[in-house]
């Protein structure tokens, strides 16, 4: 379980990091917490010749709570998402979801940016960010652009990010006051990836529903949100089941995944409704 050798870089600003990525093309990879990348490298399923570690870039570690939006730096670890009181006030669903990721040690290292950029359908943050209609700031040689979370995921491990771009910030609009929220995850054991997970936000005349690990990308389901906004829970669950496309694997056959998806969504809806002010 020894990864292939690589050259290590620890730039202290985003521009230098982008320049290093540009210089080495597809030989280079970004290293955030390393808790998806290092296991892949140990298995030699990834063997980048250059690793550009973002841990020396202070600006990527910030959380800003604005009146309209919360801005989270890519290198904010899951541990920090949980510990931040301002964030828990503004968007408590992020803490609820982060607490269901892996275990304390993994959360010490794993970052929000890594979780979002990775493109693994099992990651929990992408579905959550689609539910919240977040945007991702990407910085490349040509400058910065923003991509909506709902448009970022193309297929497993393929995203709208170019190889020479760095995901720097996650911009999450603040939900309307009094909105109900829940992140519900069904898993085989603590620390496991989701068998099925549901993110739900709802309030006066609106609702948003996104599902995790039930297709090769996260699934934000507009029709499910519309049904739920109209108070039709059964219609919401039915629309969600139409939208997902789970595959059989060691977490179970397709029929079981669908069953778990419906259970997760129903629980999330019930909890979100109970929390609605």
């Amino acid at each position: 379980m020894i990864p292939a050798g690589f050259e290590y870089h620890r730039p202290t600003d985003v521009a230098s990091a982008v320049a290093i990525l540009g210089r080495h093309g597809d030989e280079a990879r970004v290293l955030a917490g390393g808790h998806s990348l290092i296991p892949m490298m140990k298995l030699r399923m990834a063997a980048p010749a250059h690793l550009v570690d973002l841990r020396g870039i202070a600006e990527l570690g910030r959380i800003e709570i604005g009146d309209d939006a919360v801005v989270i730096g890519a290198m904010v670890a899951q541990h920090d998402l949980i510990a931040h009181e301002g964030l828990a006030q503004a968007l408590p669903i992020i803490r609820e979801a982060a607490l269901q990721i892996a275990d304390p040690q993994v959360r010490s290292m794993g970052t929000i940016g890594g979780n979002l950029a990775n493109g693994d359908p099992g990651n929990d943050m992408p579905g959550l960010m689609q539910c919240l209609d977040a945007r991702f700031a990407l910085v490349g040689p040509g400058g910065e652009r923003e991509v909506a979370a709902r448009e970022f995921y193309e297929s497993a491990y393929f995203t709208a990010r170019e190889d020479d771009e760095i995901l720097t910030r996650v911009i999450v609009p603040r939900p309307p006051a009094g909105a109900g929220w829940a992140y519900e995850k069904i898993k085989r054991k603590i620390g496991d990836y989701a068998t099925a997970a549901a993110a739900v936000m709802l309030g006066e005349g609106f609702a948003s529903v996104a599902m995790t690990n039930l297709a090769d990308t996260p699934v934000w389901c507009e029709a499910a949100g519309r049904a739920l906004a109209a108070g039709d829970v059964e219609g919401c669950v039915a629309a969600m089941l139409e939208a997902i496309d789970p595959a059989e694997d060691n977490r179970g056959p397709v029929a079981f995944k669908k069953h778990a998806a419906a259970a997760a969504l129903r629980r999330a809806i019930a909890r979100a409704q109970a929390r609605r002010a």
Partner: protein, 164 residues
């Protein structure tokens, strides 16, 4: 691959060495520094036997490159004894409550318990269980580990009160 100059503080002592960036922190501690408290159980980021404290956080040292740890402050189970070398409070409580059988998971458990009690000095039993969710034990069934950590919390809090 070229080696890099690595500087770390381990259990309060400044250490330096040359290592390939790909070397995992657990290998650096065990093989270069002879600090064998952190164990290699699974090598796949699951078991927590390799847990150490890095800049005030519990991490699995089998999933950290020594390059990432460069400049950090590391504490291993060896660093949790009292200054005179006797067992620290958490270690002593593991002994007293039979919080171990084969002992393989113990350094990771104790290092994690140390950080957990810094983060939450007054945990409920449920919080202890959630807090050690990244540490597997194949022997004890966890009951006595949880008891040991609860007892350590009580003793550490009593000592803090007495000091005030």
């Amino acid at each position: 691959m070229s080696k890099m100059h690595v500087k770390l503080k381990v259990n309060g002592r400044q250490v330096e060495g040359l290592a390939e960036p790909r070397m995992l922190l657990v290998h650096f501690l065990r093989e270069e520094l002879g600090i064998t408290g952190p164990h290699i159980g699974c090598e796949t980021s699951h078991c927590g036997a390799c847990t150490v404290d890095m800049d005030g956080r519990s991490v699995k040292s089998c999933t950290v490159f020594v390059a990432q740890a460069n400049g950090a402050e590391i504490v291993t189970v060896e660093g949790l004894t009292n200054p005179d070398g006797s067992l620290g409070v958490i270690q002593e409580k593991f002994r007293e409550h039979h919080g171990l059988q084969c002992g393989f998971c113990t350094p990771g458990m104790i290092t994690r318990a140390h950080r957990l009690l810094q983060e939450n000095p007054n945990p409920t039993e449920e919080e202890v269980r959630f807090g050690i969710a990244g540490n597997l034990c194949r022997c004890t069934g966890y009951q006595n580990i949880v008891k040991a950590i609860m007892a350590a919390a009580a003793e550490l809090n009593a000592a803090k009160e007495a000091a005030q």
